[in-house]
């Protein structure tokens, strides 16, 4: 086995007040064979104040979280080159480092920076890429994630998903009162922002394909309703508030249609709603529970959960409705599907012998693979590049988020400092101002 356990705690060094709720990331399981890389702290001009973020540390942490790279610890860096002329490839070759990242941050105005970085192939002694990016102080973390994306893509051939975000639900009990929050954070858990706070449950956040809006379920009127909220303006509208269930919203890939679960006809059934005029079409007609619709990336098929066969299992049907076909056969409880961006893999909550774990199903060869090791794991959601799956697990009887590489070989846990975190959903690729 080349799988070993390590417990590398990436701690937040200093926590300003507004970061109190930030996530810490604990890598719980890694792989040998992660590519050694050196990310040298970026140089700054001697006479200007240090920028508020350690850009190189953010990049190193991103690369480590991907499971594909093993950045050198800062104390193991044998040199700290800032300029190309200061790089001695021989030094890095002796350490077995395959790639080297250097950079510098120039202050170009009040609160304005310019970040320049270069990525080298140490063995060939050549620059692979180099960019110069502007940033305000507030944008430094985001730009660092953009740089991580560029490095990841150059070295793996696949786009990075570091400059993306996750939405999730937090619940906490204060003075005996429960409070629920819909939050948004960077993909590394930093910069948590609260989009909605309610005394009643919030559930099932779902990103619009353009990454600008979130649909979710709110019980704020002591009954379920589906809302759509603009992430940037905070404006929201109620789109479904029928008698009974209004749940499980899922956007079609073109963003025009929302699949939802309603029980207005007396039983939980899946409907599609045309968002332009909210016209509903009922898609399922069984006396069982039909819920948790998700669209395949081509928009032609909806995968959903149904207990029509006696236990909850995953089924697929045409997106316009029609004959449903069962997909899962192993285990007595398979729910909460999400489909990889290439449409080839499905992840789910897989229950067997009283344990609920995240599993993937290869849709080409029907091979099922257990990816997580919790007892009550739930809500798997693919990163937009398909490389990782984020999900909810429990740690010390509190809900925390975890992520696993899509091959199951690398796992990590994000721990919020307080509250129960659950129902993470990874955003699509988005451009930010």
């Amino acid at each position: 086995m080349n799988i070993y356990y390590r417990s590398l705690l990436v701690l937040l060094l200093c926590l300003p007040g507004w970061l109190q709720a930030a996530l810490t990331i604990e890598i719980t399981q890694g792989i040998e064979g992660a590519v050694p890389i050196a990310v040298v702290p970026f140089g700054t001009a001697a006479n200007s104040p240090a920028p508020p973020e350690d850009v190189a540390a953010i990049i190193a942490s991103d690369l480590a979280r991907s499971g594909r790279f093993a950045p050198l610890a800062e104390q193991d860096l044998i040199a700290r080159p800032v300029e190309v002329s200061q790089v001695r490839f021989q030094d890095w070759r002796t350490l077995g480092v395959e790639n080297l990242v250097i950079g510098k941050i120039a202050t170009v105005g009040a609160n304005q920076y310019r970040i320049e970085f270069r990525l080298f192939d140490v063995f060939r002694g050549r620059q692979i890429t180099g960019h110069s990016l502007p940033a305000t102080a507030d944008q430094l973390r985001y730009v660092a994630h953009r740089i991580s994306d560029i490095i990841y893509e150059k070295l793996t051939g696949h786009p990075g998903a570091f400059a993306t975000r996750i939405a999730y639900v937090v619940s906490e009990t204060r003075n005996g009162k429960k409070s629920y929050q819909l939050q948004l954070a960077d993909s590394d858990g930093y910069n948590p922002q609260t989009l909605l706070t309610s005394a009643q449950p919030l559930m099932s956040p779902a990103w619009s394909p353009d990454g600008r809006r979130l649909a979710y379920v709110s019980f704020e009127k002591r009954r379920a309703a589906v809302f759509i909220q603009d992430v940037f303006t905070g404006k929201r509208q109620e789109i479904a508030a029928f008698a009974g269930i209004n749940g499980a919203p899922a956007w079609s890939p073109d963003g025009r249609t929302m699949a939802v679960t309603l029980s207005r006809d007396g039983n939980p059934e899946i409907y599609s709603m045309r968002l332009s005029d909210r016209k509903l079409k009922r898609l399922t007609f069984s006396a069982a529970i039909d819920t948790e619709p998700v669209w395949t990336p081509d928009g032609k098929t909806i995968v959903f959960t149904s207990d029509r066969g006696g236990s909850p299992q995953l089924y697929r049907m045409p997106a316009q409705g029609g004959r449903a076909q069962r997909i899962t056969f192993e285990g007595n409880y398979n729910t909460s599907a999400d489909i990889s961006p290439d449409g080839k893999t499905l992840v789910m909550v897989h229950g067997e012998d009283g344990r609920y774990q995240i599993a993937s199903l290869n849709l080409e060869n029907n091979r099922l693979r257990i990816l997580s090791d919790g007892r009550l794991d739930e809500s798997p959601s693919f990163a937009p590049n398909g490389s990782m799956i984020i999900y909810a697990t429990e740690s010390g009887h509190s809900g925390v988020l975890a992520a696993v590489s899509s091959d199951g070989r690398f796992r990590q846990r994000f721990s919020l400092r307080k509250g129960n975190v659950r129902e993470p959903v990874w955003s699509p690729f988005t451009k930010r101002k």
Binding site: P201, M203, S204, F219, R222, R223, A224, A243, G244, I245, G247, A248, T261, S263, R264, D265, G266, N267, P268, S286, A287, A288, I289, D290, T291, E292, T305, D307, R308, G310, S311, P312, Y333, T335, S336, V349, G351, Y356, L376, E378, S379, E394, H397, R422, E423
Partner: protein, 177 residues
């Protein structure tokens, strides 16, 4: 209000239609079970009124009244009302029939295991089971509303069967009392 009544009546009719088919799905089994109860329920309603005497609004606040019991519990992944709980529902049905101005919220809940949205579905089916039992014992559809909170509002915080068994439940919440 008329609309809601119409919808609810439609639901009941829809359910009756469902019963007449001989589907072999799990839900039909539940329905068939309920249906047999309806036959008995007709008699139970008339004798039930006698059995429960005059349940008045005051009975709602009487800890010794059968109405004091407002929570019934379910087996894992099941929405079948247990035999012993039918008695409790019969008392509530008799009370609601005798007091048509009273409204009740039927709230369905589940334990924390499994998927949250599936549990919303399961809680809904539990609430619907109870609603049907009340309606077939003479309660007007307009007196009943249902909501499912799934696993979102546990009665007992805990992560073992002792907590779970208390959380798989339907609560009858009398509006304004």
């Amino acid at each position: 209000m008329k609309f809601i009544q119409a919808v609810t009546v439609a639901l009941v009719l829809g359910w009756l239609a469902g019963c007449s088919s001989t589907g072999d799905t799990k839900e039909s089994e539940v329905a068939v079970e309920d249906h047999s109860d309806v036959a008995a329920g007709g008699a139970a309603t008339s004798s039930g009124v006698g059995a429960y005497g005059d349940l008045t609004i005051e009975s709602l606040n009487d800890p010794n009244s059968p109405l004091a019991q407002r929570v019934i519990y379910f087996a894992f992944d099941s929405s079948d009302v247990a035999e012993q709980d039918r008695e409790i529902l019969a008392a509530h049905a008799a009370f609601l029939s005798a007091n048509p101005e009273v409204k009740v919220n039927v709230e369905g809940h589940t334990d924390e295991r499994g998927a949250r949205e599936y549990n919303i579905g399961l809680g809904d089916q539990r609430a619907q089971s109870v609603r049907r039992m009340l309606e077939f014992q003479g309660v007007a559809p307009a007196q009943i509303s249902t909501v499912s909170f799934g696993e979102e509002k546990p009665a007992v915080e805990g992560h073992d069967e002792s907590a779970w068994s208390m959380n798989r439940r339907v609560e009858l919440v009398y509006v304004g009392y």
